[in-house]
C-alpha cells in the first residue's frame, strides 16, 4: 500500500513538473520565436516611427536602462538601509510589526496607484511635467517595499552563530553588518534585486502616468527632465494605439527583447553567487 502510494506520488511529481516545464519552455520559445528571427540592429537602436514601417525602439530601450538605473540608485540604498534597520535595530514592538505588515501589503497595491501618487507628487506638486526623473522616482517607490522586505528577510536568515562570533571578536555592529551579515545575505538580496529590476523593467502603468509615452526623439539623452518612454511602455503603446502597419511585429519584437534582457539580468546578477558556490563546492 505504502509502496503503491509512493510510486503514484513519484510519478505525479514527475508528470506535473515535466508538464509545467514543457509549458514554460513553450511559452518562452513562443515569445522569443515570434520576435527574435527578425531582430536587427536598426530595430534596436533606430528611432521609432509613427507612419512608416521599420520604426525602431532605440530611445525607448535606452530609457528603459537609464530609468531602471536611476530608480535603483534611489531604491537600493534606501531599501537596503531600511531593511537593515528592520532586521537589526528595530525594537520588537507592535508599531514595528505594523510597519512590516504595511510594507508587505504595499507590494500588492496595483502599480497604477504608485503612478497616481507620482503624478500628485512630481507633476502637480513639483510641476516637473512628465519626466525621466519623476518616472524613476515613482518606480523606486514601487520597488522600495520589495527591496526592504527582501533585505530584512535575508539578513534575518543569516545564522545567529555568525553574528555572535563576530561580536565576540570585538566587532562593532557596523563591522558585523558590513563584514558578516551583508556578505552572507548578499546572494538572497541580489536575487531579490534582480526580481525587482525585472519588475521595474516590465512596468508600464507607472511610467505612462509619470514619464509619458514620448521620448526626446534622440539617442543617449541623459537629461533627467526629458520625457521617458520605456520599452515596456512602447510595447503597450504599439499594442494598443499605434497606427503603423507593422505594429504587431514591433510588439512581438519588443516582447522578445524585453524577455531577453530580463534573462540577461537573471544571468548577470547571479554570476557572482554561482562562482562562489562553485568555489565552495570545489573546495568541499
Amino acid at each position: 500500500m505504502n509502496r503503491l502510494k509512493n510510486r503514484i506520488f513519484t510519478i505525479t511529481v514527475w508528470t506535473v513538473a515535466l508538464c509545467v516545464i514543457l509549458f514554460v519552455f513553450a511559452l518562452l520559445l513562443l515569445i522569443l520565436e515570434r520576435g527574435f528571427p527578425s531582430l536587427t540592429w536598426d530595430f534596436l537602436f533606430g528611432l521609432p516611427s509613427e507612419i512608416e514601417e521599420g520604426g525602431g525602439i532605440g530611445p525607448a530601450l535606452f530609457n528603459s536602462f537609464y530609468m531602471l538605473f536611476l530608480s535603483m540608485v534611489i531604491a537600493v540604498p534606501l531599501g537596503i538601509a531600511a531593511g537593515i534597520y528592520l532586521a537589526e535595530f528595530a525594537p520588537d514592538n507592535a508599531w514595528i510589526a505594523m510597519v512590516r505588515i504595511c510594507v508587505e501589503g504595499l507590494a500588492s497595491v496595483p502599480s497604477i496607484i504608485f503612478g497616481l501618487f507620482g503624478i500628485a507628487l512630481f507633476v502637480e506638486m513639483f510641476q516637473l511635467g512628465l519626466t525621466i526623473l519623476g518616472g524613476a522616482a515613482s518606480l523606486a517607490f514601487l520597488n522600495l517595499p520589495v527591496i526592504t522586505r527582501v533585505t530584512e528577510e535575508a539578513i534575518r536568515a543569516v545564522p545567529r552563530e555568525w553574528r555572535h562570533a563576530s561580536f565576540a571578536l570585538g566587532a562593532t555592529h557596523l563591522q558585523t553588518i558590513r563584514r558578516v551579515l551583508l556578505p552572507a545575505s548578499m546572494s538572497a538580496i541580489i536575487t531579490g534585486l534582480s526580481l525587482a529590476s525585472g519588475r521595474a523593467f516590465g512596468e508600464s502603468a507607472v511610467i505612462i502616468l509619470t514619464a509619458g509615452v514620448t521620448t526626446s526623439g534622440v539617442m543617449w539623452d541623459f537629461n533627467l527632465l526629458s520625457p521617458g518612454e520605456t520599452l515596456a511602455v512602447h510595447l503597450w503603446y504599439v499594442q494598443s494605439e499605434a497606427i503603423v502597419p507593422d505594429a504587431q511585429q514591433i510588439s512581438q519584437k519588443s516582447a522578445a527583447v524585453l524577455l531577453f534582457i530580463v534573462l540577461a539580468f537573471n544571468v548577470v546578477f547571479r554570476i557572482p553567487a554561482w562562482v562562489r558556490d562553485f568555489r565552495i563546492r570545489k573546495a568541499a
Binding site: D92, P159, E161, W162, H164, A165, S166, F167, A168, L169, G170, A171, T172, Q175, R179, V180, P183, A184, R279, I280, A283, A284
Partner: protein, 251 residues
C-alpha cells in the same frame, strides 16, 4: 595564584527570570576554570556575562560587578568592543564564517585596524599554530572554512579567537558537538593554551572538567553550590548536591 576576574554579588535577570543569584567568585589567571552543572543552571549565562554577550539578549539586566584585571566591565565608560577583543570566546557549535580559512582568522585583526598583508600573514600563521591547526591547513588557506571537519572548524574558531590576542578565552561547551578524537585534541590544546591565557570553560561533561581544569565550579539553579580545586571537588565534595551530581544521581 593571582585572581584575574573578580565577580561580586552578581545578579542577572532575563525579564523577570532570576538566572544568576548573588554570585561571587575569583577566577585565577593562566589556569583553566570549569563551570559544571545541569542544563539551565546558569553556567553559560555567567560565562556570557564575562564578555557581555548577554547584552545582545533583550530584556537582560545585570546587577553587581565583574572586574577583569581591576576594570569593572559593567562600568560606565567601558568599551564593549575592546572588552570582547580581550575576552575571546569559542562557542558550542563550531561557527566559522562562510569565508576562506585565512579570512576567518584575519577577520578579528582586520576589525581592529590591521591592514598590512605581511602582518596579517604573520598573525594567521601564529594563531593557526597556536590552535594546532597550521600543519593541517597551511597548504590551502584559501579554501572555504566550511570545507573543514567539525573538529578542525572548532580549532579554527579557537585560532580566530587567538588572532586578536585576548587575555581570557571563554569556551562554551566547545567540544559537545565533536567526536572523541577531536574532543581530545581540543582538550590537549586547552592544556597548552593555559600557559598564556586564562581559560574559563563551560562543560556538560564532568569527566572533561576533571581531566582538564584546575578549578571547578558547580552551579545549580543559578547559584554557586561549590567552588574548589578540581581534584578536591571531585574526590571530596563538601556539599551533598555536588556529590549527587558528580556521582550521576541527577543532571
Amino acid at each position: 595564584m593571582q585572581a584575574l576576574i573578580e565577580i561580586e554579588r552578581l545578579n542577572l535577570f532575563y525579564g523577570s527570570f532570576h538566572a544568576l543569584k548573588n554570585i561571587s567568585m575569583d577566577i585565577p589567571e593562566k589556569a583553566i576554570t570549569a563551570f559544571i552543572g545541569p542544563s539551565g543552571c546558569g553556567k553559560s549565562t555567567l560565562l556570557r556575562s564575562l564578555n557581555r554577550m548577554n547584552d545582545m539578549i533583550p530584556g537582560t539586566s545585570t546587577h553587581g560587578s565583574i572586574k577583569i584585571a581591576g576594570a569593572d566591565i559593567y562600568g560606565k565608560d567601558i568599551d564593549v568592543e575592546a572588552l570582547r577583543k580581550n575576552v575571546g570566546m569559542v562557542f558550542q557549535q563550531p561557527n566559522p564564517f562562510p569565508k576562506s580559512i585565512y579570512d576567518n582568522v584575519a577577520y578579528g585583526p582586520r576589525l581592529h585596524g590591521i591592514t598590512s598583508r605581511h602582518k596579517l600573514d604573520e598573525i594567521v600563521e601564529s594563531s593557526l599554530r597556536g590552535a594546532a591547526l597550521w600543519n593541517e591547513v597551511k597548504d590551502h588557506l584559501k579554501r572555504s572554512a566550511l570545507s573543514l571537519s567539525g573538529g578542525q572548524q572548532q580549532r579554527l574558531c579557537i585560532a580566530r579567537a587567538l588572532a586578536v590576542e585576548p587575555d581570557v578565552l571563554l569556551m562554551d561547551e566547545a567540544t559537545s558537538a565533536l567526536d572523541p578524537i577531536s574532543t581530545l585534541k581540543i582538550e590537549e590544546l586547552a592544556q597548552e593554551l593555559k600557559a598564556k591565557y586564562t581559560i574559563v570553560m563551560v562543560t556538560h561533561n564532568m569527566h572533561q572538567a576533571a581531566r582538564v581544569s584546575n578549578q571547578t565550579v558547580f552551579f545549580l539553579n543559578g547559584e554557586v553550590v561549590e567552588y574548589a580545586e578540581t581534584e578536591k571537588l571531585f574526590s571530596n565534595p563538601q556539599d551533598q548536591r555536588t556529590e549527587d551530581y558528580i556521582s550521576g544521581r541527577f543532571g
